[in-house]
C-alpha cells in the first residue's frame, strides 16, 4: 500500500509540475501520518483546516479518522489516478493515508453571487438571474421547481477547458427522444473543441449546420424562465462559469415571449404579445417597403403623402435605397457602439449619433426627413423583441428584405417575406418544427 501511495505521489508530481499553488502537505501525529495533495488557489483552505487538519489531531486514531472522512458530504471514493487528478484540478483534495486514498471535494468557487436579471428585465416579475456557479443555479432552480422528477446530470465539455455542464430536466415531462438526441449530440461534440466558455459558443457547436441565422436554442439568464421551460418538458443545459443557460428545444414563439406576459393580466399580456409581432413586422418590412413603394408603386400612398415624400426627397442626391442603407448602417453602428462602450461614455454616443447626426444629415440634404422617422421606427421596433438572439437575427434579415425589395419592388417585398416565413417553417429545433401556428394545441394533446 505504501508503494501505491508513492506511485500516486509520483504521478501527481509528474503531472502537476512545479506550480506555486500546488501543495503537498504532510501531517504527523503520534507516529501516524497522512499526506494531502491539493491546489490551494482553488480550494477552500479554511475548510481544509476545519474538516481535515483539526479532526486529524483530535481523533488521533487513523481508522476512526478514515470513517470520519467517509461521513463527510464532500467525500468521494478513489477510483483511479486520472479521476483523482481531475478532481484536484477542480478544487479537490487527495488524502493519502498509509493504507488508502481518499478524495474530498473542497472547491472554493469565486463567483459574483446571485445578481439581478439585466439582459431580460421584467418590471414586476422575479428579479433573480442565474449566476456563474452551477451549485447556486441548481439551488435556485430546485427552489422554484419542487418536483421529485427533476433530474440533474453532469457532463463535461471542451477538451482543454473541461468545464462542467449540467443537464436539467423533468423526467416525467421531457420527450425521451429529444433528450436522447441532445445527449448524443453532447457526446459527439464533447471534445471536438478545446475551449468552450459560454452558452452561446456551446450552442453553435450543437447546431448541425455551420452557418445559421436563426437561433434554435434559447439562451436565457432568467431562473423563472428556466423553471417554466422545464415544466414544459424542455431540457436546460448550464455551463460552469457562465450566467446563462441553454434551453432546448426552442421554437420561434419562445423568442417572441417575455416572462412579463405571464405576470400581467390576460388582455394586457395578449396586447404586449401582439405589440411585439407588430414591432417585428415593422422592423422587418419598413425599410424595404419604403424603397419598394417610393421607387416602384407610389400610387399606394395617398396623393398627399406621395407629394410630401417626394418633396422631402427633393434635395437628396442619392436613390432611396442608398439613403436607406446609409441611415440603417449608421443606426447599426450606433447600437453596436453603445453596447460595447463603458456605461459612463455610452450616453455620449447616443447623443452624438442620434441628435447631431440625425439633425445634420437632413439639413445637409443627405437624407430626407421621412427617412429619419423610418430609421428610428425600425430601431425602436427592433428593440421590442425580447430575446436578443432573435432581435439580432431580425436585424440581419431586414437587409435581405431591403435588397430584394430594391430589386423587385413590392413583389420583391412580398416574395421575400413569404420566403422568410417558409424558411422559418423549414427549420427544426431538435425534432420540433420551428414555426407553426397553434403549437400549444398540439402540445396539449
Amino acid at each position: 500500500m505504501q508503494l501505491m501511495n508513492e506511485q500516486i505521489k509520483k504521478y501527481f508530481k509528474s503531472k502537476l509540475e512545479d506550480s506555486l499553488d500546488v501543495k503537498y502537505q504532510e501531517l504527523y501525529f503520534l507516529g501516524q501520518n497522512v499526506e494531502l495533495i491539493y491546489i490551494n488557489s482553488i480550494c477552500d483552505t479554511d475548510k481544509i483546516q476545519e474538516l481535515v487538519v483539526k479532526p486529524f489531531f483530535e481523533i488521533q486514531d487513523i481508522r476512526k479518522f478514515e470513517t470520519y472522512l467517509k461521513s463527510l458530504q464532500s467525500y468521494q471514493e478513489f477510483e483511479d489516478m486520472e479521476k483523482a487528478l481531475k478532481e484536484v484540478l477542480r478544487g479537490g483534495l487527495v488524502l493519502l493515508t498509509c493504507k488508502s486514498v481518499h478524495i474530498l471535494s473542497l472547491k472554493n468557487y469565486v463567483s459574483e453571487g446571485v445578481k439581478k436579471a439585466e439582459v431580460e428585465t421584467t418590471i414586476q416579475g422575479p428579479q433573480m438571474a442565474l449566476s456563474d456557479d452551477l451549485q447556486q443555479n441548481i439551488n435556485m432552480i430546485r427552489h422554484r421547481y419542487h418536483q421529485p422528477s427533476l433530474i440533474v446530470e453532469k457532463e463535461e465539455v471542451g477538451s482543454v477547458s473541461a468545464l462542467e455542464l449540467m443537464i436539467v430536466y423533468d423526467k416525467k415531462k421531457v420527450d425521451e427522444s429529444i433528450l436522447k438526441n441532445i445527449k448524443d449530440k453532447i457526446n459527439e461534440i464533447k471534445s471536438s473543441k478545446e475551449m468552450v466558455q459560454s452558452a452561446g459558443e456551446f450552442q453553435r457547436l450543437l447546431t448541425p449546420q455551420e452557418r445559421t441565422l436563426f437561433p434554435v436554442h434559447m439562451i436565457t439568464e432568467r431562473v423563472d424562465r428556466v423553471a417554466l421551460n422545464i415544466s414544459q418538458g424542455k431540457v436546460v443545459l448550464m455551463i460552469e462559469g457562465a450566467p446563462f443557460s441553454l434551453v432546448l428545444p426552442a421554437v420561434f414563439y419562445d423568442f417572441m415571449s417575455s416572462m412579463e406576459d405571464l405576470y400581467q393580466p390576460f388582455w394586457v399580456g395578449k396586447f404586449l404579445v401582439s405589440l411585439r409581432y407588430l414591432g417585428l413586422f415593422i422592423s422587418l418590412t419598413l425599410p424595404g417597403a419604403y424603397v419598394a413603394i417610393t421607387a416602384y408603386n407610389p400610387e399606394i400612398f395617398k396623393v398627399q403623402l406621395a407629394l410630401g415624400v417626394a418633396g422631402s426627397r427633393a434635395s437628396v442626391p442619392y436613390p432611396a435605397f442608398l439613403e436607406v442603407i446609409f441611415m440603417l448602417v449608421m443606426m447599426e453602428l450606433l447600437t453596436e457602439a453603445s453596447i460595447r462602450l463603458p456605461k459612463s461614455i455610452g450616453s455620449t454616443a447616443t447623443t452624438v449619433g442620434g441628435l447631431i447626426l440625425g439633425q445634420a444629415a437632413t439639413e445637409a440634404g443627405l437624407v430626407s426627413n421621412i427617412m429619419i422617422i423610418i430609421v428610428s421606427a425600425v430601431a425602436i421596433s427592433n428593440f421590442i423583441i425580447p430575446i436578443n438572439e432573435m432581435s439580432f437575427a431580425m436585424r440581419v434579415v431586414k437587409y435581405i428584405i431591403l435588397v430584394v425589395s430594391t430589386l423587385g419592388g413590392t413583389i420583391g417585398l412580398i416574395v421575400s417575406l413569404f420566403a422568410l416565413i417558409a424558411y422559418l417553417v423549414s427549420l427544426d429545433s431538435f425534432g420540433q418544427p420551428y414555426l407553426r401556428l397553434f403549437m400549444n394545441e398540439a402540445k396539449g394533446k
Binding site: 400610387e299 417585398l413 416574395v415 423549414s426
Partner: protein, 366 residues
Amino acid sequence: MFKSRYYYYLIFLNMLANIVVFVPRILLDDRRNGALSAMLIAIPLGLMISYFFTKFMSKFPGKGLPEVLKEVGFPKFLTVPLIGLTALLWFSAGILALLAFTDITKRFINPDIGVLYIALLFLLLVVWASKLPTEKVLYLLEIVLIVNVPVIAFLFLKAIMNDALSWPDMTEASTYIMNIPSFDSLAATTYIFTGYINIVIFNRVFNEKINMRPFIFVIFIGIGVVLTTFFIPIGYFGFDGVGEFNFPWITATDAIRIEFGFVERVFFVFLLLYIGVALINVIVHWHVGLELILSILPEQKKKKKFKWLTKDLIVLLIIASIYMFIQFYMDETTVFKLGEWWLRLRMPNEYILVLAIILYVWRKRR
C-alpha cells in the same frame, strides 16, 4: 396529431386561388350562354365528388394514393400512367397559375420590370418550397392563409357592401339562368372545388380519419365563392361591359375604395396578398405533383458527381423550364387559350380517374 383542419385549408386554398384568374373570365364570357346554369350544376357535382373521394381516402389514414393503390393491389401497369397523369395535371395547374400571376404582376404592379426577373423570383421560392417535407408545406399553408385571409375577406366584404355595385345588372345576369349550361363554364366552376385532390399526397400526414362534419361549411363557402366570382365584376362593370376585360376580377378590385384607410386604393393590397395565396397554391400543387412522380420513379443511384442534383430537384427544374418556355414563347392570348383547354380537359380526366379508383376498390371489397 394532424387535425383535419388542414384538409379544409387545402380545399379553401383552391377556392380562393382560382377565383381571380381563368375561372371568372370563362364564366363572364359565357354570361349570355349558360354560365349561371352551368354553375348551378357544377356546385353539387364538385362538392359531391370531393366528399366521396375524401371519404374514400380517409379509409386509409396515413397513406397517400401510391400506398393505397399498392395496398388494394391495383394493377401495376395501370398505376404508373394513373399516377403520372394526376401528377401531370397538378404540375400543369401550378404552371398555369404561375403564368397567370407573372402576367398579373407585370401588368398591374410593375410594368417596367422584366418578366424574366419576376419569373425567376417566383421560381426560386416555389421550387425551393415545394421540396419541403409534406407537413411543413401544411404549416406554411396555414400561416399564409391565416395572415392573408382576414384581409382578403374584409376586402371581399367591402366589395359586396359597396354602394356603387349595380344590383339591376346582377339581376339581369341572373335572368339568364334558363339557358342551356355551357361545358366550359361547368369545367371552370368545378375547378374551384377541386382542392380535394391534394389529399392524394397530404393524406400521408393525416393519421386520423378526416372529420367530415365541417364539410357543411365548405358547401356554403363554395356557393358564396362561386357567386361572388361571377357577380361582383358584373356589378361593377355592368352586364354589357364586363366582357372586355382580361382579368375582370382584378380590375374589379380597383373599383373598391377605402376613404379612411391607410391605403386608399386597396387594389394593391389585394393584389399583393393574392400573390401570396397564389404562390402557396403553386407550392401545394407542385409538392403534390413532385411526391406523386417520386413514388413512381425508381430509386436513385448513388452518384459521386452532382450530389446536389437530387431526383426531386431534377423533376422540379424540368417543370420550371417548361414554365419558362411557355412564358417566353407564347403570348398572353395563347396562354389564356391554353388555360381554357386545360380546364376543359381537366374535368373529365380528373373525374374518370377518381371514379376509376373508387369503383375498383369498391368492387374489390365486395
